[in-house]
């Protein structure tokens, strides 16, 4: 659990973070969003003390971070950054084993752990263990970055725009992998991003920052429905918020069982987001879709009226 109480950071005259309070529960994935320069990275880096806070208190599991030795503290917290920060003169395996080696794990255990992580992140040992970072694609390099951060099994993970430099397809793949990992590992994660779709997709708790302050926080759907002000509303997409919300809801939640009518010609997967169903309707100019399961077997239907949740 991470708690911030009135945390402030001054850089000389400038106030980068201005008295923010935040509580990230154990196992929660908290996403920080906001315009450039609003203090997201600074907030993150105060948690692992790469930056010392000027005022306020930061607690990990109830203990002030200032009471930890900073090196010990950082070895307990995973850290992933945008350009990976992989050591170019070390192989993938050596990069991943960094923190366990710093913690003086026995060699055999480090090797087993590296193997385990590479399997977890979909990097076959035989192919990647001895490669150097410059031989990797952006997506592979960031997988190694995540593996390195997870190596010593930290409870907390700090991620600063980890997928920011990737193409949309690779980014989406890594987002899904992260959700999958999180479902298994239950880390406490603070994640910074510029990409609102990424934020909405990943967040258990979404925190909107502006000029060093928290403007609003809560579940993504809460923020979409009741943005605190114009700024939050426009950051979340302004008038396209409806589509963002539709991206968070599954077809499963709105479909009806198969009725007596003929099956509609166009189909949509039961786990697809509503936004995809809407797009299909627009594209094919129809107002009804057949919902199919993984094996492409029809299990229900979705009408435009149901999709938009119309009450009439």
């Amino acid at each position: 659990m991470i708690e911030l109480f009135g945390v402030t950071k001054h850089f000389g005259e400038e106030v980068a973070v201005d008295g923010i309070s935040l509580r990230v529960a154990k196992g929660e994935l908290c996403v920080l969003v906001g315009t450039s320069g609003c203090g997201k990275s600074t907030t993150l880096r105060m948690i692992n003390r790469l930056i010392e806070h000027t005022a306020g208190e930061i607690h990990l599991d109830g203990q002030p971070v200032r009471t930890f030795d900073e090196v010990t503290l950082r070895r307990r917290i995973g850290y992933v950054i945008q350009n990976t920060g992989l050591f170019p003169h070390w192989t993938v395996a050596r990069n991943i084993g960094l923190v366990p080696r710093l913690l003086k794990w026995p060699r055999q255990r480090v090797r087993e752990r590296v193997e385990e992580l590479m399997a977890l992140l979909g990097l076959p040992m035989a192919e990647f263990a001895d490669k150097y970072p410059r031989q990797l694609s952006g997506g592979q390099a960031q997988r190694v970055g995540v593996a390195r951060a997870l190596a010593a099994d930290p409870e907390i993970l700090l991620m600063d725009e980890p997928f920011g430099a990737l193409d949309p397809i690779t980014r989406e793949a890594l987002q899904l992998e992260l959700l999958d990992l999180q479902a298994r590992l239950h880390k406490t994660i603070v994640f910074v991003t510029h990409d609102m779709d990424e934020a909405l997709r990943l967040a258990d708790r979404l925190v909107v920052m502006r000029q060093g302050r928290i403007v609003q926080q809560g579940a993504p759907v809460e923020l979409l429905h009741a943005p605190a002000d114009e700024f939050v509303a426009s950051l979340l997409g302004g008038d396209t918020r409806g589509l963002k919300e539709a991206a968070l809801t599954r077809v499963r939640d709105r479909m009806l069982p198969l009725g007596p009518r003929l099956l509609a010609h166009e189909r949509v997967a039961v786990d697809a987001p509503l936004s995809q169903a809407l797009s299909l309707m627009l594209w094919h100019r129809v107002d009804r879709l057949t919902v199919v399961d993984d094996e492409d077997i029809p299990i229900g239907e979705l009408s435009l009226r149901r999709l938009v949740g119309s009450k009439t």
Partner: protein, 256 residues
């Protein structure tokens, strides 16, 4: 001859120069040191009016030894002070001096070596010591400059990650900064040593005895043969040293 054979031969030559080049140059240098007498004919043809055409005040091997010793000592000290100093000013405690040192290192390069010597003599007197000091000072600059460039050229993300993963300052220096900066630092050392092999010859004017002696003596007595003998040996020594560094550098780059 087929194109392929030509290319193959070119590659083989490159490989040969890379692997054995330094040793071959060293061999040539030693052979010339010991067998300069065999070249009496050509030298007499160059310098028909002089009674003596072979420099004989001291053996070439002894002069070479002196030369190597002086350059070696000066370079060793320059590496220790230069690398150490550049590391110090990139640490938090020394950062205040960073602008000063990096400016000195770049201005100093424009300072001619003769001037360094001219300044060293009044302070240190004649002999071997002033030349060692002058070479040390002069050789310091490329080493400092390159060490700074090497350390500052490291991707800030790598540094950030190293700190964020919980490496101590010492671990960051030894496991990240120095290995990553090594090729650039080595390039600086190479420049420093190679330039100093040539610069050391000027030491002969202030009474150090080395391969500069035949050159100075040749100029003073109007004996071109002496000048040539000194120049050839200094040139070969510089090439030997340079090719040795080249080889080490290539090893280093291959590894990264």
């Amino acid at each position: 001859m087929s194109r392929r054979a030509v290319v193959g031969r070119g590659l083989r030559l490159r490989w040969w120069l890379g692997e054995w080049g330094p040793l071959a140059w060293l061999g040539l240098l030693l052979v010339l040191c010991l067998g300069m007498g065999e070249l009496e004919g050509p030298f007499r043809w160059i310098e028909p009016d002089s009674r003596e055409v072979l420099y004989a005040r001291s053996s070439f091997l002894a002069l070479l030894g002196q030369h190597v010793l002086v350059v070696g000592l000066a370079s060793l000290a320059a590496v220790m002070i230069g690398v150490g100093g550049a590391i110090a000013v990139t640490r938090p405690f020394g950062r205040d001096f960073l602008p000063l040192v990096s400016q000195l290192a770049s201005i100093g390069q424009t300072f001619p070596p003769v001037a360094v010597l001219a300044l060293a003599v009044p302070v240190l007197g004649f002999g071997t010591l002033p030349i060692i000091v002058a070479l040390l000072l002069y050789g310091l600059l490329p080493i400092v400059r390159n060490t700074l460039a090497g350390i500052q050229g490291i991707d800030p993300g790598v540094h950030e990650a190293a700190r964020g993963m919980g490496m101590t300052r010492r671990q960051i220096l030894l496991q990240v900064e120095l290995p990553l900066a090594a090729p650039v630092i080595l390039a600086g050392v190479r420049t420093s040593v190679t330039v100093n092999v040539a610069t050391a010859a000027i030491g002969a004017t202030v009474g150090a005895s080395n391969l500069g002696d035949p050159i100075i003596s040749g100029i003073v007595n109007g004996n071109t043969a002496y000048v040539l003998q000194g120049a050839m040996l200094i040139g070969l020594l510089a090439i030997t040293v340079d090719s040795a560094f080249e080889r080490v550098q290539r090893r280093l780059v291959q590894r990264v």
